[in-house]
């Protein structure tokens, strides 16, 4: 049944794509005669391996752009090994609006820590896309019933709890907990952070009783929370997340002003013109309005936090300030 439908929609889709491309073309040419639009294939650089979460997002964007005809030139993904190499590659194409990147929090954090030598100011952010807020989980039989218990324990002795997370030092899993403890007056340089190669491994570290808490993006802990193999006690969002996280309090609710997330943004190399930025702003604004995008964000328990070019710049500046403070206390700032 679904088989046949799929095949049919496939045929319809091709027609729809052609129509959409045609109508978009009309709209653009009618809208502003001077407006820029792409004339050669688009390359989206991702500084991580195929299959990593920024890569999956970039490929999803590629899929929407081509399917809905938002961009009427081919779009390819270019995987680069590490952030500094990736951004160096991007800036070899300075002023070329056909080269884009989908990147993450590390854009701001890596230069602060000295793990990348390309400051974000050398790039052209187009817009913030999504934020994955960070939740804190403990074992169901843990003595830590609430976020307050967690903070109280650390206040008494910063080494009393071991906190596992996946990835590397200075990532949002690390900074979200550190920020909360810092705002509560804990000496965060002494916290016991146990780093795993993935959030999933950190999670089973808690489930197996090897570490006391796990800090991870909400999407990675939704299964264990529903299964009740983990208890989620706090979220680093400005307000509570939607179901099934509706009962998880924010850090703000216990009086700690913490909002931290793993965010993703899209942008290009340095030196793009206002027309070029405006074109991409418009495409991205349309992308995040598609039903598929909304469905993808919801199934990932993320939040669309779209910002335009100007607001994204402001956001990066704010992030740089707050991250500098927390990284300083964690002794992770570049020396």
């Amino acid at each position: 049944m679904t088989e046949q439908m799929n095949r049919k929609t496939g045929r319809c889709r091709r027609l729809a794509r052609a129509l959409a491309a045609a109508s978009l073309g009309l709209a653009v040419s009618a809208g502003a005669a001077l407006a820029w639009e792409p004339t050669e294939p688009i390359e989206i650089m991702v500084h991580s391996k195929p299959g990593s979460s920024p890569d999956v997002l970039a490929r999803f964007i590629q899929h929407i752009w081509q399917k809905d005809g938002l961009v009427n030139v081919p779009v390819t993904i270019n995987n680069q090994p590490v952030i500094s190499v990736g951004f160096a590659w991007l800036n070899q194409h300075e002023g070329n609006p056909h080269k884009l990147t989908v990147s993450s929090t590390s854009t701001v954090v890596a230069p602060l820590m000295g793990t990348s030598d390309v400051p974000w100011q050398d790039l052209t952010p187009i817009s913030l896309l999504i934020s994955e807020y960070i939740v804190l989980g403990v074992a169901p039989d843990s003595e830590l019933k609430t976020a307050q218990d967690f903070i109280d324990s650390l206040k008494k002795n910063p080494k009393s709890l071991s906190i596992g997370f996946g990835g590397s030092r200075g990532n949002p899993n690390n900074t979200a907990v550190a920020l909360a403890a810092m705002k509560a007056g804990v000496d965060i340089a002494n916290l016991k952070f146990v780093i795993y190669s993935s959030g999933a491994e950190a999670r089973i570290g808690v489930m197996g009783g090897h570490v006391d808490a796990v800090s991870n993006a909400a999407s990675g802990l939704v299964g264990p929370m529903v299964d009740k193999t983990l208890r989620i006690i706090a979220v680093s969002a400005p307000e509570r997340l939607t179901a099934p996280f509706q009962d998880v309090p924010t850090w703000r609710e216990i009086g700690l002003d913490v909002v931290d997330s793993n965010w993703r943004w899209i942008g290009g190399p340095g030196g793009l013109t206002d027309e070029q930025i405006a074109f991409w702003e418009d495409v991205v604004a349309k992308t995040v309005q598609t039903p598929e995008w909304k469905e993808m964000v919801e199934s990932n328990h993320a939040t669309t936090t779209y910002l335009n070019h100007q607001d994204t710049l402001k956001f990066f500046e704010e992030q740089e300030q707050s991250m500098t403070a927390v990284l300083q206390s964690l002794d992770l700032l570049k020396k």
Partner: protein, 500 residues
């Protein structure tokens, strides 16, 4: 009873024409891309993920899983014929597979690889069907301390590769451990031994080291032979199929390899490569004629091939029951599940039995398909051996370079395979075994990170490492292995002296 019913109906679901079609596509793609080093299952699955947007989850997952275990079949072919492991977990297959091919038994080696893969894979899936839930609770008890002990135990098997000289094996293993430290250090986010080369920040990819040490070194060795005028093409001797004796020698190896592979596969963060190393050294340890290993012993090929396929099934245990990937490829499969809005975990078996059992049972069919797909290809593949060495070596270099480059799209990896090629050639000249070096690179990161996790958790107390029944058991096994490693050569030497 319910579970039993779900298992059976899973077969009906797996055998639906659409699912069979996608299973075939997956198995075929897996075999093809498994042959190429660098373009392994993980890259293929990642590249195909966007294609599956909008597909029904079951056929899509069946296809992606098919690529995963299909690549394990494909990886063996290039390991045996070209000394170029197509996947990291087929590195051990080269040790005896390639000598077999050079001595005219290439057809038998390929047949054994396919059969061992089939049996290992099938036994692995049976275990996955029957005992995945209790096993996953056991895997949970493996924390940093237990992993440290397990890794040390695995490292102690180095002795079985050294063929007499323990110091030479130790040199090789230590160099491997050193290579494993290159890159960004996870616990402190500082760079180590990156020499200012940004491409080294992620460390040296295992497959780059393997391709250099095996494939490129083999090219150098052939060039040397050419200068000496001793270069000749391999021949095919006897029948393409296995002899009765070869089959008899391999049966036990396949069984042991399957068990080891599955158990190691179940532990998250270990993966197929470690399983093959352990299976190979176990086979050597139980063999009455360990000196044949490395010179074309068919059981040395059967054990790791069975192990890497059953490890693949094993790594699906934590993936399906805990949502924890047991290997890099499983991590991408997890991403695929999440993309379809399916959350793997203990509830998945109850909430979506059709999906889980359809998927698991499709793997039985997939393994049969792969066997049927691979066996007829043997006659075609062995023809590669008729290619004159001068041309064949060129082909190996091209495949090795494309494979290395495609991992990171980075030219640095090309220099690295050349460097590792020189190291591999040099090692062979002075008689230092290469497998311990691979073992060091594979085990190093897991050993180091778990040790440091353990030290952070325990605030620097070494007794934490032997504070659970599992870690104590592993520590005892480690001590026993070390004592045997020292004692066996001594005993043997005495016996030899006596007989003189």
């Amino acid at each position: 009873m319910d579970t039993f019913y779900s298992m059976l109906s899973g077969f009906a679901i797996a055998a639906e024409p659409t699912n069979l079609l996608f299973l075939f596509i997956g198995a075929l793609l897996g075999t093809i891309f498994g042959i190429m080093p660098g373009i392994g299952a993980s890259t293929t699955i990642a590249l195909l993920l966007p294609v599956t947007f909008g597909m029904d989850p079951l056929p899509a997952l069946i296809m992606l899983f098919g690529i995963y275990y299909g690549a394990m079949f494909g990886g063996a072919g290039s390991a045996i014929l070209l000394n170029t492991p197509g996947t990291a977990s087929s590195a051990m297959t080269t040790l005896d597979g390639y000598p077999m091919a050079r001595s005219g038994r290439g057809g038998a080696a390929l047949a054994m690889a396919a059969i061992a893969s089939f049996i290992g894979g099938t036994l692995g899936i049976i275990a996955l069907s029957l005992i995945s839930v209790p096993l996953s609770t056991f895997a949970l008890r493996f924390g940093p301390a237990e992993y440290v002990m397990l890794m040390l135990f695995a490292l102690s098997t180095v002795a079985s590769f050294t063929g007499g000289s323990v110091p030479k094996g130790a040199i090789s293993a230590c160099l491997g451990l050193l290579i494993a430290t290159v890159g960004i250090d996870m616990q402190t986010a500082t760079f180590r031994f990156t020499l200012g080369i940004p491409e080294l920040q992620n460390g040296i990819p295992l497959i780059v080291a393997i391709v250099g040490l095996f494939a490129v070194a083999e090219v150098f060795r052939n060039i040397e032979d050419w200068f000496r005028g001793a270069l000749s093409a391999a021949r095919i001797e006897g029948k393409l199929w296995l002899t009765r004796e070869e089959w008899k020698r391999s049966r036990g190896a396949i069984g042991r390899g399957s068990v080891i592979g599955f158990l190691i596969g179940v532990l998250p963060g270990t993966g197929g490569t470690i399983a093959t190393v352990l299976a190979y050294s176990c086979e050597r340890a139980v063999s009455k004629t360990p000196e044949r290993f490395g010179k074309g012993a068919i059981e040395g090929l059967a054990a790791p091939e069975a192990a890497n396929n059953s490890a693949t099934a094993g790594s699906l245990v934590p993936l399906l029951t805990l949502g924890v990937p047991g290997s890099g490829t499983a991590a991408i499969l997890l991403a695929a599940f999440i993309m379809f809005g399916i959350q793997p975990g203990p509830m998945l078996f109850q909430q979506q039995p059709d999906l889980v059992w359809g998927l698991i049972n499709s793997m039985y069919l997939g393994n049969i398909m792969l066997l049927l797909l691979n066996l007829p290809l043997i006659g075609l593949f062995v023809r590669i051996l008729y290619i004159p060495p001068g041309i064949l070596m060129g082909i190996i270099l091209v495949i090795a370079s494309i494979g290395a480059y495609s991992i990171n799209n980075s030219a640095v990896d090309l220099y690295l395979i050349l460097l590792f090629g020189i190291v591999g050639f040099g090692f062979r000249k002075v008689g230092i075994p290469i497998p311990p070096l691979i073992l060091g690179i594979v085990l190093g990161p897991t050993l180091e990170q778990n040790l440091r996790q353990a030290m952070i958790i325990s605030d620097g107390d070494p007794m934490y490492l032997v504070s659970s029944p599992i870690s104590i058991t592993l520590a005892v096994m480690l001590c026993a292995a070390l004592i045997l490693a020292v004692a066996i050569p001594v005993v043997r030497r005495r016996r030899e002296l006596r007989t003189c």
